[in-house]
Symmetry: C2
Subunit: 199 residues, 2 copies
């Protein structure tokens, strides 16, 4: 509908995840009316990110060096390994300040419907790390959905025979949530995982 | 939370309209894992769009030349002028194939709350065009919301004394919509604008 490069811009923006045609159009017009310096900065950071960012050779988190900043940090406990699906999950766990161990980023979850099997994830690399004799606990922090649960079950079966402690994050009611609005699966899990109050 | 350029990328994406921090993160990781050629193409189209796209000297629609393709088209009726807020509204009207005249893009709507007054819009330029003696009808196609209505009323008062026909797009029920889900203002307008059925 637009002339040449305007349409090209809308098309390219529309290829981004969660950007529909209307959003792509809105962003395109925002950029066309924006300060040229702002647009140039965005274009440059795209190129620079693509050039500079790689994936940590140890844990596959995003990194700007051979190893990511968590793997490089000697204060992190090497005996505890938290397995997550994506780099953004590393950030989510880091924000809690509850975990001082290291990570392993799988690169997704097992999902037959999307054609993602264990060989498409960094499972071999995980098993290789677990063979180092230093790691004693593996926390399976994949998403609490169908794919994440399947992945955790699959990994637990592989790891248990190695004699390591394998744990899974607790499922239950979100803090600050309302009991009546909890879905039944979550509420069921919350019952299942109920803890004794020692008062 | 991320290392250097990853965070820069998320920050830059987060400045785009309707992109929250979560979306910015999702898009950033999508791009980091995408084909480098795709990312380069996006960066290039940003730069190119910014360099090549200007605004039509006549109607202020987006254009790649001095005048936009509609203003350059001799088959368009020069006597009918459709006044819209933004270039994307031109596309919306064009898609209907109902209008064969020309456009005038105001660049927004009067909105005291956002500090946008008539002087911030291309009103002077509109009045100059209307003085050419060729235009006989002005269709005020600003948005059917508070700001758009205020802008249309303001423009109508300016244009009426020039002896031109000034019209406004009909308000009413959306085609394919459900009467019970229509808001009361829309339903009220639909009653107001009811037409006799000649059967």
């Amino acid at each position: 509908m637009y002339e040449g490069v305007v349409q090209d811009l809308i098309d390219e923006l529309g290829h981004l995840p969660n950007i529909g045609p209307k959003s792509a159009q809105r962003i395109a017009f925002h950029l066309l009316q924006a300060d040229p310096a702002d647009v140039r900065r965005l274009a440059e950071v795209l190129i620079r990110a693509k050039e500079q960012v790689r994936f940590c050779a140890v844990c596959f988190n995003v990194a700007e060096q051979q190893e990511c900043k968590i793997c490089r940090d000697p204060r992190r406990d090497p005996s505890s390994l938290c397995v997550v699906e994506e780099s953004k999950d590393v950030v989510a766990v880091e924000k809690t300040r509850e975990f001082r161990g290291r990570y392993h980023v799988l690169g997704g979850a097992i999902s037959p419907i999307d054609g993602v099997g264990p060989d498409d994830l960094r499972v071999k690399e995980l098993l290789k790390r677990l063979a180092d004799g230093v790691i004693t606990e593996v926390i399976l922090a994949t998403d609490p959905n169908l794919e994440g649960e399947a992945t955790a079950t699959y990994l637990a079966r592989l790891i248990k025979p190695l004699g390591l402690r394998v744990t899974r994050l607790a499922s239950g009611l979100p803090v600050g949530g309302d009991l009546e609005y909890a879905d039944e699966v979550t509420l069921g899990r919350a019952f299942e995982g109920r803890r004794q109050l020692d008062v």
